[in-house]
């Protein structure tokens, strides 16, 4: 098992640092390009969500932790922030029956993220949002 940790300020401007971290971490597994892109996008959606809504004016940090299991080609990803409590698993997906004029634009990123990992769980503990995800990559 290999562990990779990134802790940075939850600011949109740091997105490229998140991308570099995801790319470096997942290079230790053998990820098909499509699934790599999906996980990169999941990290963008969840990081930007925290950067946009978790903290007030004073800001705060976000920690991204990858536990990589090369033998199983598996990544366990944990995202932790100390912002306002937010459980992405409680968000409704977009209503696909609505006409385009009525479609809400928000929420698509989280809806997408939930579909692209094998498992997602949320805990609020000691003032922290802790989101755990597992992804087993195809070989």
């Amino acid at each position: 098992m290999i562990e990779k940790i990134l802790e940075i300020a939850a600011q949109k401007e740091n997105l490229n640092k998140v991308f570099a971290f995801v790319t470096e971490s997942l290079s230790l597994l053998s990820c098909p390009q499509k699934e790599f892109m999906q996980i990169k996008m999941v990290l963008e959606e969840l990081f930007i969500n925290i950067a946009s809504y978790a903290y007030g004016e004073n800001g705060g940090n976000v920690a991204i932790n990858f536990l990589l299991y090369p033998e199983e080609n598996k990544a366990c990803i944990t995202i932790t922030d100390s912002g306002i409590p937010f459980n992405p698993l409680e968000q409704d997906g977009p209503d696909t029956s609505l006409a385009v004029e009525d479609k809400p634009i928000g929420g698509l990123g989280i809806f997408y993220s939930r579909q692209k990992v094998d498992d997602m769980s949320y805990t609020y503990r000691d003032g922290k949002n802790i989101l755990n995800m597992t992804k087993v990559f195809s070989r």
């Binding site: 949109k12 401007e13 997105l15 490229n16 499509k34 892109m37 999906q38 990169k40 996008m41 963008e44 959606e45 930007i48 977009p94 696909t96 385009v100 004029e101 479609k103 634009i105 698509l108 990123g109 809806f111 997408y112 579909q115 692209k116």
Partner: protein, 101 residues
């Protein structure tokens, strides 16, 4: 992100190159914004752009709504596998006029 915009006979074509993400989508929004009042058709060419996150989708959706209101058209062309996956996963593949790669 590199955006190449061509306007002719009321039709704007924008070729995207790079990733359409949270940091780059304001650039696309700005390029569309310069012409949106004048055009009757918008074509977005994704030949060299196959990463589109929800920030990019948001720009596409709001542009689509604006154009639809004024009875102008919008088409996404040369959509690749990864972007297709995003459109299908968010149930937007049936909303936009799309030409797959």
């Amino acid at each position: 992100m590199e955006l190449t915009s061509t306007v002719s006979d009321g039709k704007q074509t924008i070729a995207l190159s790079g990733e359409l993400n949270t940091l780059t989508s304001p650039e696309l929004s700005a390029v569309i914004g310069t012409q949106i009042d004048k055009i009757t058709a918008l074509v977005l060419d994704f030949t060299d752009c196959d990463y589109v996150s929800s920030a990019g989708i948001r720009v596409l959706l709001s542009t689509f709504k604006t154009l639809k209101q004024k009875k102008a058209s919008m088409k996404l062309i040369n959509v690749g596998e990864n972007f297709k996956d995003v459109l299908e996963s968010t149930c937007l593949d049936s909303v936009f006029d799309i030409e797959w790669k």
